[in-house]
């Protein structure tokens, strides 16, 4: 079974600073990887996804993520954070072959943005 670890419960950055949120997964083969964002009182919204091909994927709102097979990681990055980026971020992994493709979500990282 797959698993996801988001090591950081909270991350605090200043507006305009760069951001990296960490995600490590455990799965025997190449998985499907996702990053979702949840604003307060809202459901989760897909930021970006990786299925195959180029390991650097671009998403909405200026986010990108890089798949590193050797490190079993899929870290989310943004070069300059805006105050509106304050939210909860979830990494998810789904089996890449066979199975029901049901994703497993990490516990989330709460992003706090200081002015």
């Amino acid at each position: 079974a797959q698993s996801v670890t988001q090591p950081d419960i909270h991350i605090t950055v200043s507006e305009g600073a760069s951001l990296e949120l960490r995600c490590n997964y455990s799965y025997g083969a190449t998985p499907y990887l996702f990053w979702y964002v949840q604003s307060p009182g809202q459901g989760l919204q897909l930021l970006l996804k990786y299925f195959s091909g180029d390991t650097l994927v671009q998403g909405i709102k200026g986010f990108e993520a890089e798949f590193k097979r050797s490190q079993s990681s899929f870290n989310l990055r943004k070069p300059s954070v805006h105050w509106s980026d304050a939210a909860e971020y979830f990494c998810a992994v789904a089996p890449g072959t066979g199975g029901s493709y049901i994703p497993t979500f990490g516990r989330g990282t709460s992003l706090i943005v200081h002015p």
Partner: protein
């Protein structure tokens, strides 16, 4: 634009009462997921439907929870009887059963059981 809708958005009830939450998946989507989100447990999968058939409800307490899809436009999650520990935000998500499985989430139902 197409969205998953959930009703009610908020529900406060007393212990022992029946609670029904409804979800309208995006038209054309053939998979539906029910999740529960709490501070302690994070996001937990309760049930998963494909083409209206329940495929996985292993995360759901069977004695009090039930999930159904009466038709392709409606999914329901019922709790009977409700307990204070059921207090959480319940999310519905829908998607297409194609590789890969991207999910579209509704806004959630915030349930408080007193």
């Amino acid at each position: 634009d197409a969205r998953v809708t959930q009703t009610p958005r908020h529900k406060v009830t007393e212990m022992g009462q029946e609670v029904t939450m409804r979800c309208q998946p995006i038209l054309g989507h053939n998979t539906v997921f029910w999740y529960r989100q709490t501070m302690m447990q994070g996001l937990e999968l309760l049930a998963y439907f494909r083409n209206r058939a329940p495929l996985d409800d292993s995360g759901m307490p069977k004695d009090r929870f039930s999930a159904e899809m009466p038709d392709a436009t409606l999914a329901t999650l019922k709790i009977q009887p409700s307990e204070p520990r059921d207090s959480a935000v319940y999310f519905c998500a829908s998607g297409l059963d194609i590789i890969p499985n991207e999910q579209f989430f509704g806004p959630g139902t915030r349930l408080t059981v007193l």
